[in-house]
Symmetry: C2
Subunit: 123 residues, 2 copies
Amino acid sequence: MSSSSNRRCAACKQLRRRCPSDCIFLPYFPPNDPQRFSYVHRIFGASNVAKMLQKVEEHERGDVAESLYYEAHCRIQDPVYGCVGIITILHEQIYEFQCQLVKVEAEIQAVKARLGHLQPQFP
Amino acid sequence: MSSSSNRRCAACKQLRRRCPSDCIFLPYFPPNDPQRFSYVHRIFGASNVAKMLQKVEEHERGDVAESLYYEAHCRIQDPVYGCVGIITILHEQIYEFQCQLVKVEAEIQAVKARLGHLQPQFP
């Protein structure tokens, strides 16, 4: 492999093209992590990923790449629900916490009422 | 508009093509909701959406379309984090609930200990 192909980002490597110095993918899809680009390419397509990166400010692009990779990874793991499956699970967990909290708060009120009933006898 | 174009699904309408009777999009992207297809088309691309629908069992395709629409909608609302932003918020809420629960449980233990200290004096 030539030194020039080693400098290509993971996207240009996979798309078998020259990687320009101002390549939109280069900072976010390094050649040492080919799976990262492969995943977003499979789910969103290279041109959509490029569009989504270009649409935001440069300092936000790292987060765009990271969140797209997360979504793509989830969709590959769970082809039916993708990361929406995770959102459903988290909503269920929050509902369980809310129920638990209501129960514990009722318990604390009951114990406090009992304590209030006992305390007046100790002036 | 001819009656044949009225029968086209939202995808075939947007892609300006004939809608075959076995169109993969037809059951999940009805013509009366053009935004639904427009969103997934913008984020994933029509061919990726078709691939993702074809990849799963027929009874799961409604959920695929729904979750892709949800993801696309989130990405359009929040171009940096998409629905991963929602996952982050939900994780933060769960962390807050856990802290609240630990605090309330400590409180209940303290009140119970106080109650235990008072009760022996009432045989």
